[in-house]
């Protein structure tokens, strides 16, 4: 009985869907638009978050010591810094290690390698790389190092260059969330309104049919389900269309949000988010479809 009801009403829902012509196109396109807007918002905030995480992983404070400072003293500094509760890790990089790293980093540039070998003494400075538990604490850490007893031995503290990037990501994420929620609510309402009207037109076209159904004793569910399925089909279609449209949009839009330097990294991470986004679209699309059709049919089922 349940199976029969579902198969019969599903069939009726499909029929409504493809017989409605331009109405179907209208409903699917407005739902697609609403879904695209949430997807773009999702994509933007995911990529901004990915970018932020990537940058945060790279961030550290490098404290360079003057070349005459003894290794012992540097180790003492490291030990003291590690006691700060804001510090996650502090890594000592000796002059030799710094040279090796430099050589590997520039392995493909023989000119530079030659130049560095030409200098008899190792020109690089020993350093301590400090990572904070929370990126916002770099300021405090840097300040306390500047004011510590070691300030005479320190050649330079290097961290400023990342601050701009972090700030930029943080503001982007905040803006995306604010405008995103607003746009999403707005377009969902528009989508519900239009789908509601499309389904109401369908119901209107099926007036006699519904009247007969009621007269011969069709249950309310039997009358309601074809229209609910119609809404579901609109939602599924819209989800498929919008995921197809989303690929090129992501390609075009991400560079503006995260800066072209990070696009490569983010997009490689992105593929696995697509399934998630598609599922979200499907869910929202189907929900919008169901809500609209239930609203539209409600009036016709009152006794």
């Amino acid at each position: 009985m349940i199976f029969l009801t579902i198969s019969r009403t599903l069939k009726a829902g499909f029929k409504n869907f493809y017989r409605n012509g331009s109405l179907t196109v209208a409903a699917v396109s407005i739902l697609t638009l609403a879904l695209l807007i949430i997807s773009v918002i999702l994509v933007l905030s995911i990529s901004a978050n990915l970018g932020l995480k990537y940058v945060q992983d790279k961030i550290d404070i490098r404290v360079y010591f003057k070349s005459n400072v003894q290794e012992q003293k540097i180790m003492a500094f490291r030990a003291e810094v590690q006691r700060y509760k804001e510090v996650k890790s502090a890594e000592y990089i000796s002059k030799n290690k710094a040279l090796d790293d430099f050589k590997t980093a520039n392995a493909s540039k023989p000119d530079i390698l030659k130049a560095i070998e030409a200098v008899e003494e190792n020109p690089l400075l020993a350093s301590v790389n400090i990572k904070a538990t929370n990126p916002e604490q770099y300021d405090i850490i840097a300040k306390s190092i500047e004011n510590s007893n070691y300030r005479e031995d320190i050649a330079s503290i290097n961290y400023q260059q990342y601050r701009l990037v972090i700030d930029r990501f943080n503001t982007t994420i905040k803006t995306i969330r604010k405008t995103g929620v607003f746009l999403f609510v707005l377009f969902s309402l528009i989508a519900i309104l239009i789908t509601f009207n499309v389904i109401r037109m369908t119901i209107f076209n099926h007036g006699t049919e519904i009247e007969i159904m009621r007269l011969v004793g069709a249950s309310n569910n039997f009358i309601r389900l074809p229209f609910v399925f119609e809404g579901v089909i609109y939602g599924v279609f819209a989800a498929v269309v919008s995921i197809i449209l989303l690929f090129p949009i992501v390609k075009i839009v991400t560079p503006y949000v995260v800066g072209s330097a990070y696009v490569q990294i983010i997009q490689s991470d992105f593929t696995r988010y697509f399934i998630l986004i598609f599922l979200a679209q499907l869910l929202v699309g189907v929900l919008l479809g169901i809500i609209s059709s239930l609203l539209a049919i409600r009036r016709y089922l009152k006794v």
Partner: protein
């Protein structure tokens, strides 16, 4: 089978209210053939609507098989409707479905299995004499035939009661008489028939119980009645 106990029905449109039925009481037994007659607005259709629970009485009670349907819940309505077959003046056929599909539709929406539909529909079309028109669309058949399709649809789920509201209103006298004979045949097969009409010829030829209504009141109720207003 059906009992009306002091039923009053008032329709309210804005500030004006119209009394459609005023303190109406009667009862109809199983397998009866009852004709309700009267002018337009006498209350015939309202009585029928109260029976298939399309309307609720303003006061009083409507009983169906000993069950009070005055306050029937929306959930119980479909099951109630499946005990009744309805036929109307305007046929209410689906233009995009064939004769066969129109009749089958009534069973489909009530959740009957396909096998039973394939068995019942041809049988019913045979009874109403439309076996040869099964694949025609409503616009391809005559008015009388359309009404036969409607009767077939009303009958197909084997209801205990057939309600016919002016079924001959749109038909020529010969087709009309054909429909009435069909209803009499159905009645003889054991189904209760309630007919609402203002067709004098029809009523006088049936020679069954006639209830005459005027301005919402029963003014006559004769077991072998005639149309007389």
């Amino acid at each position: 089978m059906i009992e009306f106990k002091s039923v009053k029905k008032v329709y309210k449109v804005g500030v004006t209210s119209t009394v459609a039925l005023d303190n109406v009481s009667f009862s109809i037994d199983q397998k009866e053939f009852v004709s309700f007659v009267g002018h337009s607005g006498a209350g015939k259709s309202t009585i029928l609507k109260l029976i298939y629970a399309e309307e609720k009485p303003t006061s009083g009670e409507v009983m169906f098989n000993g069950e009070d349907i005055t306050h029937i819940k929306p959930k119980g309505l479909p099951l109630h409707r499946r005990r009744i077959g309805t036929v109307f003046q305007d046929f209410k056929l689906l233009q995009k479905k064939t004769v066969y599909e129109n009749v089958a539709f009534a069973l489909e929406v009530s959740g009957y299995p396909n096998k039973e539909i394939q068995k019942s529909v041809p049988q019913i079309l045979e009874i109403v004499g439309l076996s040869n028109k099964a694949d025609n669309y409503p616009h391809e058949i005559s008015g009388g035939e359309k009404q036969r399709v409607a009767i077939a649809r009303a009958l197909v789920h084997r209801p205990a009661l057939i309600i016919a509201d002016e079924p001959t209103g749109n038909l020529d006298p010969i087709s009309a008489w054909g429909i009435i004979q069909l209803l009499i045949k159905i009645n003889k097969l054991g189904t209760t028939v309630i007919l609402a009409t203002h067709d004098k010829e029809v009523v006088n030829n049936i020679k069954r119980r006639v209830v005459t209504l005027d301005q919402g009141r029963i003014i006559r109720d004769h077991s072998k009645g005639r149309y007389a207003i």
